[in-house]
Amino acid sequence: MHDKTVVELSAALSRGEFSSEELTRACLQRVAALDERLNSFITVTEAQALAAARAADARIGAGEAGPLTGIPFAHKDIFCTRDVRTSCGSRMLDNFIAPYDATVTQKLAAAGAVMIGKTNMDEFAMGSSNETSFYGPVKNPWNTATVPGGSSGGSAAAVAARLVPVSTGTDTGGSIRQPAALCGITGLKPTYGRVSRYGMIAFASSLDQGGPFARSAGDAALMLGAMAGFDPRDSTSVDRPVDDYSATLDDSLEGLRIGLPKEFFGEGMDARSAAAIEAALEEYKKLGATLVDVSLPHVGYSVPVYYVVAPAECSSNLSRYDGVRYGHRAAGAKDLEEMYKRSRGEGFGAEVKRRIMIGTYALSAGYYDAYYLKAQQVRRLIREDFLNAFADVDVIMGPTSPGVAFALGEKAGDPVSMYLSDIYTIAVNLAGLPGMSIPAGFADGMPIGLQLIGNYFEEARLLNIAHRYQQVTDWHLQAPAGFE
């Protein structure tokens, strides 16, 4: 049953082929048997999962089930889960038992989905390889000597390895789309404001957005439908009805205009990835789409803009970790300043400290205009580039990542080289647009992702475009050896 989609599992549950408790036990057994090779989970919540599964079975028996009722899933360990450790991949929060649920946690629980655990991630979501986690790196199920991508690496690896059918992630600069690409699965970052950030531990608040991982666009549609919606507890949540993402999956793509930014197809892209993207575009032409050349002249500045804006917001957001109210406190400090500095020095890892220091510097007296203000100005130009392109096209396509999964340790000592692995995804966060990554082929046995970028709130259209491609290709159905 572990290779079935949510759509198939839900039908089997309602027919009584097996119970949610049986399905949940099967997932827990796969985690117990296989996760040693991947390290994709930080915490497994067996007792709570079985209780939730029994409640779901009662709901199914009473004829009150929705499409996610009884479906096991995993939360990225950035979403607060009441009475369950919520570590954010950091020593700072290793002892933090969340006293409340994130809105996304509440919504998935209300839909009857069964959380089986919390997945590994880069510390405070800062990383592109899942190597900055306090709990050790996650391995890519396609080749355990390579990274799964980051920061939502555990959630992506767990879905790719068929430990769970779906999971949650967050995307600040590519942290859903890049690991989805590197692990060969489907990932969606919604429009900024579509999914509530309440209870989702903050990294860079003007960029952070939660979204789903799945093995098909159809499953991602079900997850997003449950996760999305206005939340008065998130001041940047958008008050706008949620579309029925499943209803339009099969719509025709006849006449679809696909924009290809020339800046995404230049130097820097791996030749094998380029060939896979070309082949995917040919499939879209067969489905009735037209390819249109577009330009995003400022998109090349996305990574430098991001590495001012995100660290600046992170230095502010992470100032709350002071060893006073919760989280790690250093022992034996003789005064308050020493207590702050040592608690933070011990609680945070090297990459988090680097970003806090870059942000602190960019916001410090005399440098604010040169760095932060300048970056926010260029950010507007990047957004205008996208708006200009969307005047002429329905969707923008290109690679998700410059290449396939890289070796563990390959980029760990060189922050700038690591940052450049998000070169195609970061602009989407800066503009606040929705984006997806779907499997589009392999190079040397490693998955390649195709990125789809939509206009604001066009998640339904993106899922439709992804779904139609998945009806005529089988890249998304491939399973890594040893995890079939």
Partner: protein, 95 residues
């Protein structure tokens, strides 16, 4: 712009981060690399461009000034490193 050790120490102080002397050269090198990379932004003419604070140019939503959350002080303080009589304890600040 290349950062020197004293600047790294000052930034670490402003960020309330204890870093070891042995780590300072690597931080100086990493932070300088990142800043050199960020300085590419100077190539862009941003005269009269309004900074973008929110991707949808939304403004802060206001709500009525009413109590909406329950008092959960005890539950929250259960996670604190040190409390007494409903207060958070820290090392002595004033002699």
């Amino acid at each position: 712009m290349a950062l020197e050790a004293p600047q790294v120490e000052k930034i670490a102080h402003l960020a309330m981060l204890d870093i070891t002397a042995a780590d300072i050269p690597e931080y100086a090198r990493n932070l300088s690399d990142i800043l050199a990379f960020v300085e590419h932004l100077e190539e862009v003419d941003t005269t009269s461009v309004v900074p973008l604070a929110h991707p949808l140019d939304a403004v802060q939503r206001l709500r009525a000034d009413e109590v909406t959350e329950a008092d959960e002080r005890e539950a929250f303080q259960a996670h604190a490193p040190l409390t007494e009589a409903g207060l958070y304890l820290v090392p002595k600040v004033i002699e």
